[in-house]
């Protein structure tokens, strides 16, 4: 390419106490190019885009935009220079309308009436249906993302940064998004695209830069590179694919019979008549877009929110009214999605956290008195077995990285030899090698005869480990299907198609 790059980064370095987030990073993006930024958690992708967006100042190195020096002191300056960013965790305000949200992200926002007209115009041009007066808190994840994208588009960006945009979308919504992005790219807007999902990058991106531990370790043309090769460049070593050995399924251990539960709060989802049987040694994968009843289903199964009699049977006994401790004693264990504050108490040590869920099954308490040395041994065995990187069981849960804490949280339950194990988002925010280890642990657990329910939004993960697959949509569970041979389109339909699209037209 002979044209001047739109954006060129040279030798960017940014250090935080104890860690170099970016070390001498250079890359170039041409106008209209879709450029992927790849790397594991902690590789420095977020820091890099925050520097481009003016949220973080580099310690050294330079940026050039269209050949001119570019050093945004704050997001405002970056936006003025034509950089737009769609955040991984949406930077939206739930209690406000779509138009108000968009106005907040603009430098010279017009009056709300005029802005609403602009929003409607842009949303039609790019095929992103969205009504300006709706309250953002009522929107689906896909619609919320459209709010962010339209906010960026209204400022006519030359470069659009997207941080993990598809992690909350159904396959159909991903297609709609990609159509929009391709259109933008054809119009000359460059896109810097961050994602873990390598197949998406292969279908969308023109080029890719791979970061590892803050350094650029390679570049490739995603179309000509296999996903596996890219993954290994990211990790820096060969990846272990989880292996599964076929084994016979046992008796039915858990039955859900028309399980209903009201929504826990205004933003929750009611469970509407869920029926499914689970056999020993089987993994039931439950897909679906977040907010369709995943948390509520886990709470109903773990006993956090007991359900009415006759809805939940364990080996034929009605356990609907039992709380978590009694269910744990029976061997029904659960690991919720949110690690900090739900699965683990952030300010307590790993030993204390091990005590909290392990007491009933591991005999860590005797007549109300706690056996701390046994709890420490148990925590240590979790750390050893699951390769949790930490100074020791006395470390606070908060001090562990997301992936390490996740390994601890899952390992803590796995080592309690569950009869039924329910887990929500087992590898959310966990890097590829830790995710592979966790999936292998779940497969091994099934082989020993445990029945598992794995709730996840990562379809590749569910395909890799599930025996049967079903989807949650609006609090209802689809009919389970054999996971073998199921296609992405079929899964998308089970998940409710392009979720939220119909609503947006109203």
């Amino acid at each position: 390419m002979t044209q001047t790059p739109l954006l060129s980064l040279t030798g960017l370095t940014k250090a935080y106490p104890g860690v170099v987030a970016n070390d001498n990073v250079s890359l170039q993006i041409a106008p209209g190019e879709v450029h992927a930024l790849l790397g594991e958690n902690g590789a420095g992708k977020s820091t890099l885009v925050k520097m481009i967006y003016g949220l973080v100042k580099p310690d050294s190195g330079t940026m050039h935009m269209n050949g001119a020096e570019f050093a945004p002191a704050e997001p405002r300056a970056a936006r003025a220079a034509g950089v737009g960013m769609v955040f991984q965790h949406f930077s939206l305000f739930d209690a406000m309308t779509v138009a108000e949200n968009i106005a907040l992200g603009m430098e010279n926002a017009p009056k709300l009436g005029a802005l609403s007209a602009q929003i409607t115009a842009v949303s039609e041009t790019y095929g992103l249906p969205l009504s300006p007066d709706r309250i953002v808190g009522d929107l689906s994840a896909g619609e919320r993302q459209r709010v962010e994208i339209i906010r960026c588009l209204l400022q006519d960006p030359k470069l659009l940064i997207m941080d993990e945009p598809t992690s909350v979308l159904t396959p159909q919504e991903v297609e709609i998004l990609f159509t929009t992005l391709r259109k933008l790219s054809a119009d000359g807007t460059a896109i810097l695209y961050i994602s873990h999902k390598l197949e998406e990058i292969r279908s969308l991106c023109d080029s890719a830069t791979i970061l590892r531990l803050g350094k650029v370790v390679g570049a490739c043309v995603p179309r000509d590179t296999t996903a596996r090769d890219m993954a290994e460049m990211m990790v820096g070593k060969l990846l272990q694919t989880p292996t599964r050995t076929p084994h016979a399924k046992g008796e039915i251990v858990l039955q859900l019979k028309d399980l209903k539960a009201p929504a826990p709060n205004a933003f929750g989802m009611a469970l509407k008549g869920i029926s499914v049987d689970l056999r020993a040694g089987e993994i039931l994968g439950i897909g679906g877009v977040a907010g369709n009843g995943q948390d509520e289903l886990l709470a109903a199964l773990s006993g956090e929110r007991p359900v009415a009699g006759g809805m939940l049977l364990h080996s034929g006994d009605d356990i609907g009214g039992l709380g978590p401790t009694k269910r744990r004693a029976r061997g029904i264990l659960a690991a919720p999605e949110e690690r900090m504050g739900h699965a683990a108490v952030p300010d307590m040590s790993l030993t204390e956290n091990a005590m909290l869920t392990g007491a009933a099954r591991e005999g860590l308490d005797r007549r109300g008195f706690l056996d701390w040395s046994a709890a420490t041994r148990f925590a240590q065995s979790v750390i050893d077995t699951f390769d949790v990187r930490t100074p020791g069981p006395q470390a606070a849960a908060r001090s562990l990285s997301g992936g390490n804490l996740q390994k601890f949280v899952i390992g803590r339950e796995v080592l309690q030899r569950p009869e039924v194990f329910v887990v929500n988002q087992p590898t959310w925010g966990v890097d590829a090698s830790a995710a592979a280890a966790i999936r292998q642990a779940l497969l091994d657990l099934a082989e020993t005869g445990t029945a598992l329910i794995v709730i996840s939004q990562d379809l590749d993960e569910l395909m890799e480990i599930s025996d049967r697959f079903c989807a949650l949509n609006e609090g209802r569970l689809s009919e389970p299907r054999e996971a073998q041979g199921i296609t992405v389109e079929e899964i998308g339909l089970m998940m409710g198609g392009a979720h939220g699209m119909e609503v947006a037209h109203v």
Partner: protein, 307 residues
């Protein structure tokens, strides 16, 4: 003996405004603070600081209006301490607010030692000319000092600012989700500090209204819990300015009513009468707020700009 005819209905209703004004100021200030996501429990302390600063200044200069200006400064100065603790030192807002109230009560007592038993200069009512002679409306609505009208104007201004201006939108955004507001490049701490100072100034004026006009004299701890009522009012008014106004008038009216009932000797123990405004106001506002009790998303959470 009870003689309800001893109550002059016009003076009685006009008294609503006087009784409600300290509450209006304190609550509308706290409403703005809470809409930016900060919970300042120091309202009572800032009010009493305003009460003594206003009283002392009015006595020394002979000008009640200068007294109100000093009250606003005094309240804002004390609120800066809270802003320093919570926005710079990232201290817990609840504990800092309680400390502020205790500090304000003690410090004001120290400052006020030489002012006990003095009469402050009076602030005259606004002269509406012939309008004030309109029957009923004149004595009720057009017979007050400027601060009463300023309070109402302030509520309208806060409502309009929050609803129609960009500054109001940004302010609400900071209170709704401070991380998102920060990501968009808004100065969360600066906006919050300014709001806290505004709240302090309003509370100060409210306090001075008690010491300069409503009572009018200086005694220790004379705000007597109005700051706490203001805090409750903001919550039960669902963080909406006009509901604050409504609640303040309800409370003011009930205070006025119970004082009058005490005056005419109703056969109910004084303690019941004295607590009735608090109970009834809260009950009414709880009922009102059942449908729309939506607190600002970041209320009371400490903001720390990571990376």
């Amino acid at each position: 003996m009870m003689d309800l005819s001893a109550i002059n209905p016009l003076l009685f209703i006009a008294g609503f405004f006087v009784a409600a004004t300290p509450l209006i100021f304190a609550a509308i200030g706290e409403l703005v603070v809470e809409r930016t996501g900060v919970l300042n429990l120091g309202v009572e302390g800032m009010m009493i600081m305003g009460a003594i600063c206003g009283f002392a200044t009015a006595v020394e200069t002979g000008s009640p209006l200068l007294g109100f200006a000093a009250a606003a400064l005094g309240g804002a100065a004390l609120s800066l301490l809270f802003a320093f603790l919570t926005q710079v030192m990232l201290a817990n807002q609840v504990a800092s607010g309680l400390a502020l109230t205790l500090f304000g009560l003690g410090f004001s007592a120290l400052l006020g030692q030489s002012y006990v038993g003095i009469k402050p200069p009076r602030l005259g009512d606004i002269d509406f000319g012939p309008l004030a002679d309109i029957p009923v409306v004149g004595p009720i609505l057009l017979s007050h000092d400027i601060i009463v009208y300023l309070g109402i104007a302030l509520v309208v201004a806060v409502w309009a600012t929050l609803k129609f201006t960009r500054a109001g939108l940004v302010l609400r955004a900071v209170g709704e989700n401070h991380d998102a507001a920060h990501a968009l490049g808004f100065k969360v701490k600066r906006i919050r500090t300014l709001a806290i100072m505004f709240g302090g100034a309003c509370a100060g004026v409210g306090g001075a209204y008690i010491s300069l006009i409503r009572v009018p004299q200086w005694t220790e701890g004379m705000t007597a819990g109005v700051g706490w009522i203001a805090l409750a009012l903001v919550v039960f008014a669902s963080w909406r300015p006009f509901r604050v106004l409504l609640g303040a008038y309800l409370f003011g009216g009930l205070v006025q009513l119970q004082l009058n009932l005490q005056g005419v000797g109703v056969a109910i123990p004084v303690e019941y009468l004295a607590m009735s405004p608090y109970v009834i106001t809260i009950v009414v506002l709880v009922v009102l707020s059942r449908d729309s009790n939506r607190a600002p998303g970041s209320l009371g959470r400490i903001f720390h700009a990571s990376h």
